[in-house]
Amino acid sequence: MSDLITARGLTKTFPGVRALDGVDFSLRPGEVHALVGENGSGKSTLIKILMGVYRRDAGEIEIKGRPIHELTPEHAQALGLAAVYQDVTLARQLSVGENFFLGAMPRSRWGGIAWDEANKRSGAVLHDLGLDIDPRSRLQDLPVAKQEMVAIAKAVFENSDIIVFDEPTALLTDDETQLLFSIIRRLREAGKGIIYITHRLEELFSICDRVTVLKDGACVRTLPVGEIDQDGLMRLMVGRSMADMYTIRRLPPGEPVLEVQGLTREPRFRDVSFAVHRGEIFGMFGLVGSGRTDVLRAIYGADPIDSGQVRLNGAPVSFFHPRDAIEARIGFLAEDRKNQSIALSLSVRVNANLTSYPAISRLGVLDVAAERQNAADCIAQLRVKTPSDQQVIRNLSGGNQQKVVLGKSLISKAQILLCDEPTIGVDVGAKSEIYKIFEKLTAEGITILLVSSYLPEVMGLSDRILVLYEGNPMGIVARRDFDEEKLVRLASGVAA
């Protein structure tokens, strides 16, 4: 059988950047083809060209053996291409069934909408995929994981035979990931071609057949996954191996700086107690919904608590507003960077100073020289890649945005950093830079609370890990007792 996609010499230039430089790519029927590379390596540009979103400057594309000249999104869809993006792009207010038929609901004889038929047909597809989802439920009432499954089912329903998955497991738990993989395997057996983009290299080995590595807009290599291991892939991507990533220099932690006693916020979490020491990285691990984020938000004063006490350097404190926490030198990196940590439409300069404005204002008047200096320090110290501090932060890569987020807490002189998934949506290179920054900060006596659902990360970085399950503390594990299986069992509510 001929290839589903054959692309040769794809090139795309944006003003000042060659995003794609003569890339070859092919997709066979019945294969899962991984696309990996750091952010900015050209993965999304390649996908957007294939999906008809961008026009290529040069190169040839054949889809199912037919040469394609002009490709529009409608055209791509008609050719059987579909994409499932990490932030689901369906109509969240509509029912699952309606989302299948968007704009083309089946009609009854009288011209009304044939709801029964719509629900039956969409229900059948969901059922076939082994999904327990009622087509009548409203999409936004479903958990994110199920929404994503709906998006996949929709692609199947539309009879797409080339399906792009963009970081599909970013928001999924392990069980959900397994379900996703079983669906992908089923699609593969049905002869569909699947393009799989991921930052999580380890999952690539359990699901993909071939892998194409992109770097700086060029294709490094395409090879079967059996011919390479994770370390090898990493080297192809960044020229650096996995073992270097988590080598944080450990120091004996100092005196306790943050003590939490019986912290409770029903129904999110209850009776959480721990003490974190100066210079320590204290991990918090748990599945989505385990209350990890809620504990951080409560400490930061972003959410009220029902009971419990927080002590800072031995003295009891109560924060009613994030401002109180910032003044007590606590910084917060939210999980949802784009909606909580950075002002997307504003400049790097403003974002670097987000939590520092009261400190550089007198009677409400800003010291603009200090503002500029703060931004310059942030860019220089954290090596933020930006043409200038006037650049709108939206245009920076995820890793550079996250560096600015870290920088703003450092500029407001935070001594304790509450980090919620600090490397989500960040490429491998920036990840390792962020780890290096953590290392430097802890050496300077800054304390880090690290929430991560990514086990290698939380195990690689933390001195101790508190495991949460449905809001209940399941125990604190010290570094010498770290064990993947043990942590996963605790996080699933099974006492170790």
Binding site: F14, P15, G16, Y54, Y300, A302, H321, P322, R323, A325, I326, E327, F332, A334, N339, Q340, S341, I342, A343, L344, S345, L346, S347, V350, N353, L354, T355, Y357, P358, S361, G364, V365, L366, V368, P387, S388, Q390, Q391, V392, R394, N395
Partner: protein, 317 residues
């Protein structure tokens, strides 16, 4: 590479400036009445009123809000002032009192929006309707004429040949530009306009900032109301109808976005000038006022459309 914010603002302002120059040149060439001292001073005075209101609206729009009650505030400031003047209260008291009454409407907007979580559009629609009713009750739905000459003098007076009203507008322009560029409150407006959640997690106290933003907007509208009342030399209960839309249009033409976190004082000033010049020029040219409405509506759509195209171009490259 995408343009930086400052460069973007400059581009917008330069384009607007060019449009104004072209408009003036066109009207100079096609009418004999336009480029007369008398007409230009008249134009300046009317633009000053709308321009002041637009500056207040700008603050609200930058913080991703909207205030439909500014027109009603124009009316209530004028009426309260006129009633007090008729009761023999001296100007030095009536002016601050009417400004405070106006600002109180903004404070109420702020309370409705922050404390009751009502969206700005609905909150200010409610207060607009209430204030309009209140104005009618206070004034008995009648104009309050024959105000003391001292009050009318304000709008007639000039300093060094420049209308005082225009100087007031320019002073407020300077205040607004400074506020936006050099104060914590100004930064807060942009941050809130970008995302309320980001603002809160950054330690910005939303309650006081929301109150301040809407109170300032209403204060500016009340100033506009007093200028209008002085110009008409009476308190008019129906004054300011539709001014909220003119103000929004001026801000939007000047590069503001209802999505928040965009806009500049210079842009709002230029936007107001364009709006009023078209009004004025259209009248001089004898264009059917209804046709003029079509032109102004189209202008709003074109300027926002161009902006959208630019934004899209920036985000896809």
């Amino acid at each position: 590479m995408p343009a930086t914010r400052r460069k973007f603002t400059l581009e917008t302002s330069a384009t607007l400036g060019l449009i104004i120059v072209l408009l003036f040149a066109f009207l100079w060439a096609t009418t004999s009445a336009f480029m007369t001292w008398e007409n230009l001073v008249n134009l300046l005075r009317q633009t000053s009123i709308n321009g002041v209101i637009a500056l207040g609206m700008l603050l609200v729009i930058i913080s991703a809000g909207i205030d439909l009650s500014v027109g009603a505030v124009v009316a209530i400031a004028g009426i309260v002032n006129a009633l007090l003047l008729k009761a023999g209260v001296p100007l030095i008291v009536t002016v601050p009192v009417s400004l405070l009454v106006g600002a109180a409407v903004g404070l109420l907007n702020g309370v409705l929006i922050y404390d009751f979580g009502i969206t700005p559009f609905i909150a200010s629609l409610g207060t607009m309707t209430m204030v309009r009713g209140l104005v009618m009750i206070l004034s008995g739905a009648r104009m309050i004429a024959s105000l003391p000459a001292g009050f009318a003098h304000l709008s007639m007076s000039t300093a060094l040949g420049i209308p005082t009203m225009f100087l007031i507008w320019m002073a407020l322009f300077a205040v607004t530009a400074t506020l936006l560029r050099y104060t914590q409150l100004g930064r807060n407006m942009f941050i809130i306009g970008s995302s309320v959640e980001v603002a809160r997690l950054s330690g910005i106290r939303l309650r006081r900032n929301t109150y301040a933003i809407y109170s300032l907007c209403s204060l500016f509208a009340a100033i506009g109301g007093l200028l209008l009342s002085s110009r008409l030399s009476m308190g008019v209960p129906t004054a300011g109808i539709g001014y909220e839309l003119d103000a929004i249009a001026a801000v939007v033409i000047g590069g503001g976005s209802l999505m928040g976190a965009a806009g500049s004082a210079l842009g709002a000033v230029l936007g107001a000038i364009i709006m009023q010049t078209i009004h004025n020029g259209g009248t001089l040219l004898g264009i059917d006022p209804f046709a003029l409405q079509i032109i102004i509506g189209a202008l709003i759509l074109v300027s926002v459309g161009i902006d959208q195209v630019r934004v899209r171009r920036r985000s896809t490259t």
